[in-house]
């Protein structure tokens, strides 16, 4: 009889119901590896459903405020760097590719490529987080962190940086952009709009922050997979953890595929950096 605290791999003694497959990774509650893999994959999909609901709540709130403070959201969008955002999109797509290759390697029992692709995925993930960190730091420098707890407090209408008062001055940017397209927006009005970008930045940090948090979790997952892969745990008959890690990683990528246009691209002023 098994004890209740046996590990998953040490459970073969617990198998009262004999089955033809006696895989060391078969947990006691399952009858076969197929059932185990089916349950695990299905469970992962259900989990991703909860993630969709969680991000969904945030996306909905974002869209509601976007409608309410449209000019401010446009101005906020314009102030974040689309080139860094685009680079990050490429990085993530590349990491999805390496992850898919990792799953394939596990499936076909290629241990060395598996380890290599996992490492590549982690490096790309780290690059993404690094770029994100740089973008965050720029926003910190420009006093675009919402609230008045971090940095000097939110200020999007200039005067934040002593050396370079123009830095992060969204009000000034609105005025100049209007000028280019032949309209005139007086500075006081532009300043009102700039003040309202605070909510845009709240969502920017929340959405990208929650996404980055998921990336970090993903990287931890990768580390664990890497250790197991090096030990040679995975092969054609058992690679569920790699597959689930892949599902999770792709999901996180897809979230970014929505975040990027929503935050960086739509309604952005033409010609802005």
């Amino acid at each position: 009889m098994s004890t209740s605290d046996t590990t998953a791999t040490g459970d073969q003694a617990a198998l009262e119901t004999t089955s033809s497959e006696h895989h060391p990774a078969l947990a006691h509650q399952f009858d076969s590896m197929a059932q185990q893999q089916g349950a695990a994959t299905f469970g992962m999909w259900v989990f991703l459903l909860t993630e969709i609901m969680m991000f969904g709540g945030l996306f909905t709130a974002y869209l509601i405020y976007r409608i309410k403070y449209y000019p401010a959201f446009v101005a906020g969008s314009t102030s974040i760097s689309v080139s860094w955002g685009f680079t990050n999109t490429l990085v993530l797509i590349a990491s999805s590719f390496t992850m898919a290759m990792a799953v394939w390697s596990a499936h076909t029992g290629k241990r060395k490529p598996l380890v290599g692709f996992l490492i590549a995925t982690m490096i790309l993930g780290a690059v993404f987080l690094g770029i994100k960190g740089k973008e965050y730091y720029d926003k910190y420098d420009e006093c675009h962190i919402p609230g008045h707890v971090i940095g000097k407090g939110f200020n999007a209408w200039g005067g934040c940086s002593v050396q370079n008062p123009g830095l992060g001055n969204i009000a000034q940017e609105i005025v100049e952009h209007a000028k280019e397209s032949g309209e005139t927006i007086p500075l006081p009005s532009a300043e009102q709009t700039a003040r309202q970008t605070e909510i845009f930045f709240s969502f920017y940090f929340l959405m990208t922050g929650l996404h980055a948090f998921h990336m970090i979790i993903g990287m931890l997952l990768m580390t664990w997979l890497l250790l197991r892969a090096r030990r040679g745990d995975f092969g054609p008959s058992y690679y569920t953890p790699v597959e689930l890690g892949g599902l999770y990683w792709h999901f996180v990528d897809i979230v970014w595929i929505y975040l990027f246009p929503l935050l960086y691209l739509i309604s952005r002023h033409k010609g802005a950096a």
């Binding site: 098994s2 349950a39 609901m53 969904g56 709130a61 971090i150």
Partner: protein, 545 residues
């Protein structure tokens, strides 16, 4: 009931999940769903009595119209902590995490849930969340009310709102993991022959509950994360001073919290389906209608959240849509009540303790449900919204419904869980005391509410006193009804009669194994060949290997 058992004296199995292993490690590191169920049982019982203590203090304060026992801040903390502890730490996990955890895999003929480690993890997350709740209480409590409405909670209160919010978020994750586990288990772990049409109704209702847990709870998490950030960093999402919309918080909060009341009541309905059939010795009347009404409740439950906001400044037309949809959610509940009643028709009814609770449930839930229709009716809601009428309605469903069903289920499966019977006479007494005490406590509150007494009032105009005293008197009776089972359940652990495998002669796979069950639930994999609740048939389940 015991007269029906055979002359053979029931014996305790030599080896079962309780004596399989000893020591604190064997409990804290267990992956056995039955042990985890017991861990949950102990934890939620703690929160139930703590929440109950707060309730008692509230009723004590409301004996007199003047706020003379506590300061208003203390009173506000009392009702907030009562609500938060009861809702998030007792009601939401109550049946799914204890009875569901224990019997659902056995009912399916599975050796365990699909993910035993995640099941244990969910308990640890619950305990982690519980520490946040306790830390909040120790450091002075929180006075937001369980609804955390902004901008009061985000910018005006000086208590540990963020701490409590984090606790509730984690409690939410714990229930997400339970729900996820149940869904996968029901889909993938059924014994041979256990088709969807043969699932016990308790499984159906827990499945519907799990759907809500998985789909709604993440929204609560993100809402409370926003609230905690709003409070800590003043990000302006819900605070009108920074351009945020406080009513959006209500939308997001109720998007979870309305479905959440179905998280709380659906498993109770599942228990009732088991009890009514067993103690009437009848197949359930209209199996598929009862089963699908659970799913219908879960689905409709997502579309009615704004009926909490009819006077909150939403547009009149959206109020009408939500009112109409709220009417729709009443129908599946009515279908259930009618089917339960019809199940008893021409049955062979015995009034054992679980059945007493089940009958109490039907009556109280009917009143709770119908007053729910009153609240969903727009013109009516304007007057009774945020009054004691709402409190009474809510408690009829949650205490009269859910807690009653929980106690009924606990009595029903107690012999399965522990291998021993509870003492019947004090149990019947407790059931009756609970029923009387409950009605004494909460019926006057309907009248109070219609008279216009607002909820969350520390002091109130003197003309409301008579009804408040009645309610407080009832609460003391109710308290006895809740303390009694705690005593005799503990007593029965040592002195209760040996129950035997199937003391109720019930159908269902959980009664085919020993009491208490072995660690892997069955000695041989059961094969199901017949419909559920096959009472009146000679042999409902053949065990083959």
């Amino acid at each position: 009931m015991s007269t029906a058992t055979t002359a053979i004296k029931p014996i305790m199995p030599a080896k079962h999940f309780l004596n399989d292993n000893y020591g604190i490690r064997s409990w804290l590191l267990t992956k056995d769903h039955k042990r985890i169920a017991i861990l949950y049982l102990v934890s939620i019982t703690f929160f139930f009595f703590m929440g109950g203590l707060f309730a008692a203090l509230i009723r004590l304060e409301l004996l007199t119209p003047q706020g003379d026992l506590f300061t208003s801040d203390t009173y506000n903390k009392l009702f907030s902590m009562h609500g938060i502890n009861m809702v998030f730490f007792f009601l939401v996990p109550s049946i799914p995490a204890t009875l569901g955890n224990f019997v659902l895999p056995i009912m399916l003929g599975a050796k365990d849930l699909a993910f035993p480690k995640i099941n244990l993890l969910s308990w640890y997350i619950y305990i982690f969340a519980a520490f946040f709740s306790l830390a909040t209480m120790v450091s002075g409590g929180v006075d937001t009310g369980w609804t955390f409405y902004t901008p009061l909670s985000s910018g005006f209160l000086h208590t540990h709102v963020a701490l409590m919010a984090v606790g509730v978020i984690f409690a939410g994750f714990s229930s997400i993991f339970t729900g996820l586990n149940f869904i996968v288990t029901v889909h993938r772990m059924r014994a041979p022959g256990m088709t969807w049409g043969r699932l016990p109704l308790f499984v159906w209702s827990n499945y519907a509950t799990s759907l809500i847990m998985v789909l709604a709870t993440p929204v609560l998490a993100i809402t409370l994360i926003l609230l905690a950030l709003e409070r800590t960093f003043h990000i302006g999402v819900f605070d009108p001073r920074y351009g945020g919309d406080p009513v959006l918080f209500q939308h997001m909060f109720w998007f979870y919290s309305h479905p959440a009341v179905y998280i709380m009541i659906l498993p109770g309905m599942g228990v009732i389906s088991e009890l009514i059939t067993c103690f009437s010795r009848k197949r359930v009347f209209g199996y598929s209608f009862v089963a699908f009404s659970s799913i219908a409740i879960a689905v409709f439950g997502f579309l009615v959240w704004a009926h909490h906001m009819f006077v909150a400044g939403i547009s009149q037309y959206s109020a009408m849509v939500f009112s109409l949809l709220s009417m729709a959610v009443a129908i599946p509940s009515a279908v259930k009540v009618f089917n339960w009643t019809a199940t008893m028709y021409k049955g062979s009814i015995s009034l054992d303790t679980p059945m007493l609770y089940a009958l109490g449930f039907i009556g109280l839930f009917t009143i709770g449900g119908l007053t729910g229709i009153m609240l969903a009716a727009l013109g009516m809601d304007v007057h009774v919204h945020d009054t004691y009428f709402v409190i009474a309605h809510f408690h009829y469903v949650m205490v009269g419904g859910m807690v009653t069903a929980y106690l009924g289920g606990l009595h029903f499966w107690w012999p399965k869980i522990t291998g021993r019977m509870y003492p019947e006479a004090p149990a019947k007494l407790a059931a009756i005391i609970t029923f009387i005490g409950f009605n004494l406590t909460f019926f006057p509150q309907f009248v109070l509410g219609y008279l216009g007494m607002p909820r969350r009032y520390h002091a109130y105009p003197p003309e409301f006193q008579v009804l408040n005293v009645l309610s407080s008197a009832g609460a003391s009776v109710l308290a006895i009804g809740f303390i009694l089972p705690a005593i005799y359940f503990l007593w029965s652990l040592k002195y209760g009669a040996i129950a035997g495998d199937n003391p109720w002669q019930a159908t269902g796979l959980e009664w085919q194994t020993t009491s208490p069950p072995p660690t892997h639930n069955f000695h041989e994999v059961p094969v199901v060949t017949t419909r559920p609740y096959n009472y009146g048939a000679q042999q409902e389940v053949t065990v083959v290997h």
